[in-house]
């Protein structure tokens, strides 16, 4: 990444000719370096995950998870949730496909939680902006939460909270071709390339805007500005972070650069981690869609358990990482 760093500095200080120490120059330097780094990472990671996805299809995961016992089933479901694409619009067919094939409800939820929390765009943003340690922490915590929350939901026996039509509606055609076809490696690579392009097309604007705002904070907001409000000493910071995260889903790509800048200015690591998780796991559009397949009680329990886990995790890491 040294080359990219030099390139950013070269553009700002040599090409444009700004002077060192100028906050605008620093912000611009950050912006160029971060944007280039993120887009390179995003392309490579989405491409390789895309190839992996041609092997790990939702149909195969469904068949593999059907009739698994709680415990191991939750671990496997969360594991498969990691490379699986997440599009809010696929939640309903996925949910129904899983339930109808006999995947237990709690196991299904482990998958549905891990899938958006541990997604490649969030991982790229974290890897590029806050380093591998916090990225690993984020993935680890996300994984454990997906397993535990799914397991707890399983213990509560909420099967009566599934909407009737999910269990009874008729499936007249069986889509047997997609996902089971034998593909050549070059075909897989071209599918992965298309998917990379698609993902970048969807998120690039958010990323550029997010990095732009982050760079502005880096350049202009005083050091330790957020220490008082969002630092480890403020006990309200964690629950507030969880609440703020709920309506922010669509900008997950754009919010991580901003959170990174907030951390640089004093926001506690635990608070930042739960803010990111709340953004990816709990979102209004996703809850509205889930409401179509499960009854309000289950939804309320899910949100409650997730929010409590996030708050506990936030406090724990703020305490441990002080």
């Amino acid at each position: 990444m040294g080359v990219l760093e030099d390139f950013g500095a070269w553009v700002v200080y040599s090409l444009i000719g700004m002077s060192r120490g100028d906050p605008l120059a620093e912000a611009l330097d950050f912006f160029i370096y971060d944007t280039l780094k993120i887009f390179l990472l995003l392309f490579f990671i989405t491409f390789f995950v895309g190839i992996l996805r041609t092997y790990v299809t939702p149909e195969r995961i469904r068949d593999f998870l059907a009739h698994r016992k709680y415990g191991m089933g939750n671990v496997l479901a969360a594991l498969f949730g990691i490379p699986t694409p997440f599009c809010t619009c696929s939640v309903i067919p996925l949910f129904m496909g899983f339930i109808r094939a006999g995947v237990p409800l709690g196991v299904t939820f482990s998958f549905l939680i891990a899938s958006p929390v541990i997604n490649e765009v969030a991982i790229v943003m974290l890897l590029g902006l806050v380093g591998w340690k916090i990225t690993a922490l984020y993935i680890g915590i996300g994984f454990i939460i997906a397993v535990v929350v799914g397991f707890v939901l399983g213990l509560l026996h909420l099967e009566d909270q599934i909407e009737e039509f999910v269990l009874t509606s008729k499936i007249s055609t069986v889509a047997e071709n997609s996902g089971k076809e034998v593909l050549s490696l070059s075909k897989r690579a071209s599918l992965a390339f298309e998917e990379s392009k698609e993902i970048i097309k969807q998120v690039w604007l958010y990323i550029v805007a997010g990095i732009g705002i982050g760079a502005f904070i880096h350049g202009y907001v005083p050091q330790d500005f957020f220490l008082e409000y969002a630092g480890p000493q403020n006990p309200f910071a964690v629950p507030v972070a969880v609440l703020i995260g709920i309506p922010l889903y669509s900008n997950a790509a754009g919010t991580i650069p901003i959170i990174q800048a907030l951390m640089a200015k004093g926001m506690a690591v635990g608070t930042a981690l739960v803010l990111m998780m709340s953004i990816t796991a709990l979102s209004f559009p996703q809850l509205l869609i889930l409401r179509k397949v499960v009854k309000p009680k289950l939804l309320a329990i899910l949100v409650g358990i997730l929010a409590i886990s996030f708050i506990l995790i936030g406090y724990l890491f703020n305490y441990l990482l002080q």
Partner: protein
């Protein structure tokens, strides 16, 4: 393959109206034009109807009753090949 309406192909786009579904629709229209086929493009947005196809991801592309792609957006050229 049996065509119900003469030789007009029936192309269905399954999806609840998210951005990805619109992108798929645009690709399908371009592909139909490029391939020079007579085709009827129908958008299926009712969730129960979509689920009847037994798919696990949207948007999905159904050509003459057969699910050709799901959970992804095939490129124009790929759809042209599917139409042949």
């Amino acid at each position: 393959m049996i065509f119900l309406n003469g030789d007009v192909m029936k192309i269905e786009i399954l999806g609840t109206g998210c951005l990805r579904c619109k992108n798929l629709e645009a690709n399908v229209k371009m592909a139909v034009e490029k391939a020079g086929k007579r085709a009827e493009v129908i958008k299926v947005t009712d969730i129960k109807e979509i689920l009847a196809y037994g798919i696990m991801g949207t948007p999905a592309l159904v050509i003459d009753g057969k699910v050709m792609a799901q959970g992804r957006i095939p490129s124009v050229d790929e759809i042209v090949k599917m139409l042949d």
